[in-house]
Amino acid sequence: MRPCSREMQGMNSLFNPSSQIPLQDLQNQQIQNSHFDPNLSSNEDFLEQMLSSCSWADPKSPWDLNPPTNLPFPTNNSSSNSAKHRDLFNETPSSNSDSNNVGFRNNFDESVILASKLRQHQISCGNGAAVSDAAKMMLPQQLLMAVARGGLSLNDDIDGSLSQGGDGSIQGLFNGFGAGSMNGTDGASNQSMQHFNHPQGGAMQSPNLGAQGAAATTAVMNQPQASGSNGGAPAQPRQRVRARRGQATDPHSIAERLRRERIAERMKALQELVPNANKTDKASMLDEIIDYVKFLQLQVKVLSMSRLGGAAAVAPLVADMSSEAGGDCIQANDNGGSLARTTNGSQTASTNDNSLTVTEHQVAKMMEEDMGTAMQYLQGKGLCLMPISLATAISTATCHNRTSGIISSHAPMHQSNGEGPTSPSMSVLTVQSMTMGNGGGDGFAKDAASVSKP
């Protein structure tokens, strides 16, 4: 997905508050945005055709994208919708140092307001021809306005099939306005989204606001797509009786669409967080999310178990396990891993999904006695030992493109009573990466070791 990298930056800027990157990018985007003007001026007649029924004093003004000065909008509209537009236009703030951010923020507020007003308008008026006319007239304007402020991401994959068609026709629409600058809008919109979200400063709020913005934009987007596809020259819209795609007047389907869009928007936000999330459909994304949450919770459990803050901590634990399940685990080894038995025997506190923790502790115990048997045990399970530094390096590397579960626990291998470390303290790391190669059985560093599953 094209917007991915930008949104990644955005989320990074959310979580690691440093505004260096976005500002630079924004400046780059401004340069791109300025390309709007020369392309557009050549297609004025098309523009005027679209806007013929509403009296815009200066049809070129929306495309005036000099960022420091805010967009000068005409204030003498006389159409019925003019009052609405005027309010919104006059809301554009005067230039301040952060004018772009504020401008973009207002863009989103306005587009949200626009979309909601449009919806209410449509719902209240029903399926009348007049409404469709007015709607058709309004929509191109709104679309143009929204794009004029560089605030639309027209390539949002909100609704898969819909956006496909939407993109095609929108692109057709905008070829007249300079297709090359589509990238500019795309980047700018994501940039603006980030700036919009960044001042709010909360991860929770950003999906909401982003969702509203995107919902609004898709609402605005779908309808021009419908109108564009239904008539070559939208200047004189034909009367339609049956509900168009994207403008179903049934409030249920509108609500349904809203809901779907919101969910998709939040899914996108989640995609940035979860590693290995290049899936686009809901089911597999949910799967990834579930796995990741499970893994994080398991990590917390393991960390708290071994984070016992004391020299004598683990030895009794290990002794417990060995006393309860000593015979069992050896036999389990020979039987090729009937882990259930060892689990039942030794796990009184851990939950059932801590089989790996059991393994870790067994290995820890065995290492105390004899390295050889410990290594054999590991190999029998298909695990291997590696230095913790390597494991963390690999885990961060695989995080980007694979599902990897990393559980790190620290089990100081001390003899009883905490007299002092008799064996080197060990970190037991279990990596559940599917595609990780055999990390090598050697490299048992003095300070760190890890058990990893290839």
Partner: protein, 187 residues
């Protein structure tokens, strides 16, 4: 110790330490498993406390923890500086959730599922995928604390926030673990 980068982590660390201090006196007498529970519990409550009751999952955690005595002490210790009404809200949450659950069960029992006749391949695939999605949302609801009582949209929001907090929690815990080991080894 290198200071945690974000405010969230700092808050979590502070509250976690406060929570652990509650157990400080009983440290010697506890068994390993109890200690593990104590650590995990204080970590969880600290994590929930950083959200100040703004998110559903944090309220759910606090509500669950308040049910038994040990948790209640921790909750009072960690939350009392901030808000009394938060605690009351959490206790009220349990009641409300029970009501919501009963309503859902009732609704489901009354609703009759209609089977589509002559479903084409596309429709069949769609219904299959819908079922898969539904099943997975169920699983997710069971994972996120307090998730059963939320609708799809807020569930995903909660998951988002919960994931961020979990990550921070894991990070802080791991770092403190490493630091403590250093200290212990150095001794």
């Amino acid at each position: 110790m290198r200071a945690p980068r974000s405010v969230l982590k700092q808050q979590f660390l502070k509250k976690w330490m406060m929570g652990l201090q509650v157990f400080g006196s009983a440290k010697q007498s506890m068994s390993i498993l109890e200690r593990k529970k104590a650590i995990k519990l204080s970590a969880d409550i600290a994590l929930a406390a950083t959200r100040d009751g703004r998110t559903c999952w944090s309220r759910a955690i606090i509500a669950d923890a308040s049910k038994d005595d040990g948790g209640k002490v921790l909750v009072q210790h960690l939350l009392s500086p901030e808000s009394e009404r938060l605690k009351k809200a959490c206790t009220g949450l349990v009641m409300e959730n029970k009501r919501v659950r009963c309503k859902k069960i009732l609704k489901r029992s009354c609703c009759i599922k209609r089977v589509r006749k002559g479903a084409s391949k596309v429709v069949l695939a769609k219904s299959i995928s819908k079922r898969i999605v539904k099943r997975r949302t169920q699983v997710l609801k069971s994972l996120v604390p307090g998730g059963e009582f939320m609708d799809d949209i807020s569930l995903i929001e909660e998951t988002l926030d919960y994931m961020v907090s979990l990550r921070a929690q894991v990070d802080v815990m791991r770092r403190s673990l490493a630091k403590a080991t250093e200290v212990v080894n150095g001794k």
